[in-house]
Amino acid sequence: MIYAGIDIGSITAKAALIENNQLKATHMVFTGYNPAAAGRQVFDELLMQTGISANAVNKVVATGYGRASVDFAHKTLTEIICHGTGAHFLNPGVRGVIDVGGQDSKAILLDAHGHVQNFAMNDKCAAGTGRFLEVMAQALQIPLDQMGEISLGAENPVKISSICTVFAESEVISMIARQKDRRDIAAGIHRSAALRVASLAGKIHLAPPVVMTGGVAKNKGMVQALEDYLGYGIQVGTVPQENGAVGAAVLASGT
């Protein structure tokens, strides 16, 4: 039996296939301005890549902010339940998920069965999301995917006090003007975002083992800053960004 999960995020669209209860493959494309087309594309390309025909897929579950636009899905479910399920599937011992995506971040508390007990999401604000980091990387003129690495060399991380992304950006710009070390600024940016996310985890009393998912999990600087605030280590799996799609596929198999 083959099941698929499609996760349409604000920046990327992800797809995952589960065959006989094993993760078979995942794929990712940019969402662009047309989430429906991105959903189709990521699914088609994944099928092509694996040589599986669409007819062989028993069920499809869509998730993510663009879930409603996936017209070939049998069902839609929210990111919360999909991330929880995905994390449990890939790592059954895990009891908490921190997911930081493009436009939102969330903390999810799981029970031993991988069922969601509680969750907290960022409130109407980009602080502590991928978008925040993206804006800051631009201000620093460094590629987003290198910002994590760069920040690891910081000696005196700066303090960014604004919560608002726009104000934080001007703070960063003034630090650049004052010729602060880039590594220190990058580390300060991560700490600022991590503090927002850590407070979500605190709200619902998240406790280890915790796994981090979402595109931002690939940023080592952010993971480290989060660990510092939380006071415990967090795990990052091999497919953090596709975790929601994996969960959707797992849930497709159960419906």
């Binding site: 990111e79 069922h115 509680n118 109407k124």
Partner: protein
């Protein structure tokens, strides 16, 4: 076809009557001056009975605030107050009321000018400054009734302190109106107030029935009378009728949410400007918000009222209301409601406007979680100001919450 008939059936007939009563009430209040009657603005948790007994028309800026919210005029009026220099973090009822006084706008063209203001701080501290501002603006006398927070209990010192103020309150009213309070009349009003609260409680309790004959969304609407016309026969008669209608619905098996599968408890004030959307959202999930901590506050201190010794007993009754007690006691009440109404989940509206209500919710959430294990959802919004509401975020949170309840239900069964 059957569907339409079903929908017709779910409508509550008393709603029309209630609208008529409220219209008459506001017309009376707006024409008070022409009829040589006095108007007192009073906070929602204030002791209104002496006003009723003295034939002063009580007017509630908070009820008006709710109307402003429902009429989706919150943003405009709150912005007006912000323009005047009031902070956007101030309670939206206060902002809307202050904005409305100056703009003379709003759904009913503004409230009638007050002859006096009665402020009881049992609900919050915001009302103190708000009423001071309005007393200055209208140039009218203000009476402040200070009810200390009962974190752990009600002590003789508190009782004596509040009682002394109730006496001062009567003195204040007699000075302003230049009339004496008729004690027999007050006792009559006291009985009616007690009776009204008892009936309101009975109405709310009908929702313990499965399926529920009405929802918290209905309670938010029917609440207006126990707030504004407490102590009158109008309120007593109306709630008696409403109770009969609820019992009739129960007998006929009429539910407000078609095919009710899940029962939820709501905490905090409603999101007045999105009632329809929220009601549909939960209803689409076959979930009924059967009860709430807000509307039950107008009968929550009923056990302290002695209708035969009304004036003495209200010192305690008005001090020990839901927003004026400790977090542990609030949590106990929430837990009681969870059991009584047999709910599957708790929805907490973290209301940007109302600090005393929203502060402590996180603790209550953890207590509920620990003691009952039911899922708790925290929704960030504002009762009146739509700028604190994000539909897509609400949507995802409610969907996720219902998925959790569903998943839990399946595990419990399996």
């Amino acid at each position: 076809m059957t569907r339409t008939i079903d929908r017709e059936n779910t409508k509550i007939a008393a709603a029309k009557k209630m609208r008529d009563i409220m219209t008459t009430y506001y017309l009376d209040a707006l024409s008070a001056f022409q009829n040589n009657r006095q108007v007192a603005w009073i906070t929602s948790g204030g002791p209104v009975e002496p006003l009723v007994a003295m034939d002063i028309i009580p007017v509630y800026p908070e009820n008006h605030g709710a109307m402003i919210g429902s009429a989706k005029m919150g943003e405009e009026l709150c912005s007006k107050a912000e323009e005047m220099g009031y902070c956007a973090d101030l309670c939206a009822y206060a902002r809307a009321d202050i904005g409305c006084s100056v703009a003379k706008g709003g759904p009913i063209g503004g409230l009638p000018k007050p002859d006096m203001l009665i402020c009881c701080n049992n609900i919050c501290g915001t009302v103190l400054k708000w009423y001071e501002v309005q007393a200055r603006y209208y140039g009218v006398p203000l009476f402040i009734l200070d009810t200390p927070v009962c974190h752990t209990g009600f002590f003789p010192e508190t009782a004596a302190y509040v009682k002394a103020q109730i006496t001062e309150y009567i003195g204040f009213l007699e000075t302003v109106t230049k009339r004496k309070l008729d004690m027999d009349r007050l006792n009559q009003v006291g009985h009616l107030s007690f009776e009204g609260q008892k009936l309101w409680q009975q109405v709310l309790r009908t929702t313990a029935h499965k399926p529920s004959p009405m929802s918290a969304f209905d309670a938010f609407f029917f609440l207006a009378l126990i707030v504004t016309l407490r102590g009158t026969t109008t309120a007593v008669d109306f709630y008696r009728e409403l109770l009969a209608e609820m019992n009739d619905r129960i007998a006929k098996g009429i539910s407000v949410v078609p095919d009710e599968q899940y029962r939820l408890l709501w905490d905090n004030l409603p999101v007045w400007h999105r009632l329809k959307w929220l009601s549909k959202k939960f209803s689409d999930h076959k979930a009924c918000l059967v009860a709430d901590t807000y509307t039950s506050a107008w009968c929550g201190a009923i056990q302290y009222i002695d209708p035969d010794n009304f004036l003495d007993s209200i010192a305690q009754a008005y001090t020990r209301i839901y927003l004026n007690i400790g977090i542990d006691q609030m949590a106990d009440q929430v837990l009681d409601m969870i059991r009584f109404y047999d709910v599957n989940g708790l929805v907490m509206h973290s209301n940007r406007s109302c600090k005393p209500y929203s502060f402590g919710q996180m603790d209550i959430m953890h207590i509920v979680h620990k003691k009952t294990g039911i899922p708790v959802l925290m929704l960030e919004a504002d009762m009146v100001d739509p700028r604190s509401f994000s539909e897509s975020q609400m949507d995802t949170r409610i969907d996720a919450f219902m998925e959790i309840i569903l998943q839990r239900g399946t595990t419990l069964k399996g």
